[in-house]
Symmetry: C2
Subunit: 341 residues, 2 copies
DNA sequence: TCTAAGTGTGGTATCGATTCCACAAAGGTT
DNA sequence: AACCTTTGTGGAATCGATACCACACTTAGA
């Protein structure tokens, strides 16, 4: 019986394994065997199949394959924002490593909204991704819960998530090292431009590193020296404005991101505060910008691309069946001192 | 008869529509109807189904759905390189527009290798993407052929491809406008830093715009004034070195990308050639960097995010069945004059 | 009262690939 | 000659969801 099926418009009829089988004069099974190189196939049959595949431009349907085998060959990557230098470097590293191992990546974007992280995890699950990498910017209970329910390979990058394999930057020590470096240059009054604490790695750890370094050297911190921004140039500019208009101006500024540090530089330039003579400035991130602003910004290189690669490697290990429950990797960093100190 | 199937390891058994149906005490068909909101379903049945879905944390398999409906809800995006400012802005625009319309994007990376463009198109086809956006950097016959075979919605961004719906920047006029702007400021000897011609938009059109502007104002171009780079800071630096060590040094430089322009600025600074007094510099791209280097770089804003959005809109139109065979959109641009001129 | 239209639900074929099983033919070993 | 093995191939079930069709039950209209 012939039945007309009302398919969505615009559908091109792809050639299927069935068509190839017919053309090659063998069964679908044999075609599959040739293409996947398993089971016994005579030389003759193999040649016929390959010829048919070639002639028909046959491309196997990844969906059908995924459905049958339960493996999609895709890793989902959840980003806070696509268009940041950090994110693109990390993705680059992930992509390289995964592509080498035959995996593709499916990118999603949370636009910095925590609820979208969870939504995206579900979306990726529905697409049967073989694993998920989350560039995390916050930590909350619901997120952890959702991750646990997703019992497939999962790695978080950027934040240490409890019970989740995580790759983290050494935020505490990086900030600590910066502060000590400034102190060793004779600075006693060091100002700080941070961000809100919902981002634990950037907001809490980097601040603690700074505070502890000051404490270690018996330097007190004036309340006015700790200012906050929101990752933008403008907020860095404004924070610097506040830092330089208080009663006791610091002689150095540690900004937790390059963008805010560069915003601060802009403010200092406008106020004719010389850098580094009157004020030293340090950022974190080793952005392209940092090298090309004037004066060149001192910063910390987090080796983002390498971080991406390592994260990908962890996913790959999990895919190979190794259980890495709760493994943590802390990445290294490198201080880059330039003209701004 | 019970049959054991040897599935790949690590497979979690997802709950399926069948499980939900059993729990809700209805048939799979009814569950599908509730979830897709079509056909008649009694209030009672609907509630039972939704309750079961909720309790079981059921997430429908996108693959099974795709297979049956021939629509995946995914648009493939092919990038030359992931980690560039331009690419991430464009992707951001695409992502926003598509997400609003319920589509996801699948990113792939060609690492600037032309053969990978074709490979990626095939890869995306095998994943049944509903459409493909290509950020093109070159044009060749085989690529056009492959695109034609892929008879599904396709839009190229950045290069005008014959017979393919394309969104292009107004490279010719942008370069023309820059040159005219420099000329109107009194410059007669204008140097040029370009790239190789395989990238037609950047390598050919921008150069022609520059040349034609010079011609229009009866200004001759010394052969030594046309130099080439490869998009990197370093190559801009080196090109500037050549431009400033010839017999007749130009009084202005038009670099076809911001990165090369900034590389050039570095060289000029080192040689103590003052900008803009001794040498004006103009870039293209409106990168973050351009605003923050010293002196601030004059450049052209291509509105990349908007370009991405428009490209996505074209794909969406095609998905709605509109045939846009060969439609071309030329984007607008805006000169940003800063301290470097 | 009978028929036609509207409402609600389930059975089953289908999408495209993989894979278990059965079976057949050819070659080797007692 | 009888019986294993090895090699080669196809049939059919399966993955999870959709949608056509058939059927049953209401309700309204003639």
């Amino acid at each position: 019986m012939i039945r007309l099926v009302n398919l969505a418009k615009g559908v091109k009829n792809m050639t299927t394994i069935k068509d190839v089988a017919k053309r090659a004069g063998v069964s679908r099974t044999t075609v599959s065997r040739v293409l996947n190189d398993n089971g016994y196939v005579s030389q003759e049959a193999r040649e016929q199949v390959l010829k048919a595949v070639q002639e028909m431009g046959y491309i196997p349907s990844a969906h059908a394959k995924t459905m049958r085998t339960k493996r999609s060959g895709v890793i989902g990557v959840i980003l806070p924002r696509i268009s940041t230098e950090t994110a693109s470097r990390v993705v680059n590293g992930i992509e390289q490593e995964l592509a080498e191992n035959g995996y593709q990546i499916l990118l999603t974007n949370t636009q910095l909204k925590p609820e979208k992280e969870i939504e995206n995890i579900k979306l990726l699950r529905s697409r049967q991704v073989d694993g998920i990498i989350l560039l995390a910017t916050n930590r909350n209970e619901e997120l952890l819960q959702t991750i646990k329910e997703t019992n497939s390979p999962f790695v978080a990058l950027g934040q240490e998530l409890e019970g989740v394999t995580s790759v983290v930057y050494d935020d505490y020590n990086a900030a600590f090292s910066i502060a000590e470096s400034l102190i060793s240059k004779g600075h006693q009054r060091i100002g700080f431009i941070g961000v809100q604490e919902t981002d634990h790695a950037v907001g809490v750890l980097r601040k603690e590193g700074y505070k502890d370094a000051m404490k270690k050297h018996n330097l007190s911190i004036d309340e006015e020296w700790i200012q906050y921004g929101d990752f933008t140039f403008e907020s860095g500019y404004e924070a610097a404005e506040r830092l330089t208009s208080g009663t006791s101006m610091p002689s150095a500024i540690l900004a937790v991101t390059d963008r805010m540090a560069i915003g601060a530089l802009g403010c200092l330039k406008e106020k004719d505060i010389r850098v580094p003579e009157d004020m030293a400035v340090f950022g974190i991130g080793a952005s392209d910008l940092s090298k090309h602003v004037t004066p060149a910004l001192s910063t910390v290189d987090y080796f983002n691309e390498d971080a991406g690669r390592q994260t990908a490697q962890l996913i790959l290990k999990q895919l190979k069946g190794k259980s890495l429950e709760n493994q943590k990797i802390k990445l290294s960093y490198r201080l880059i001192e330039r003209d701004s100190v």
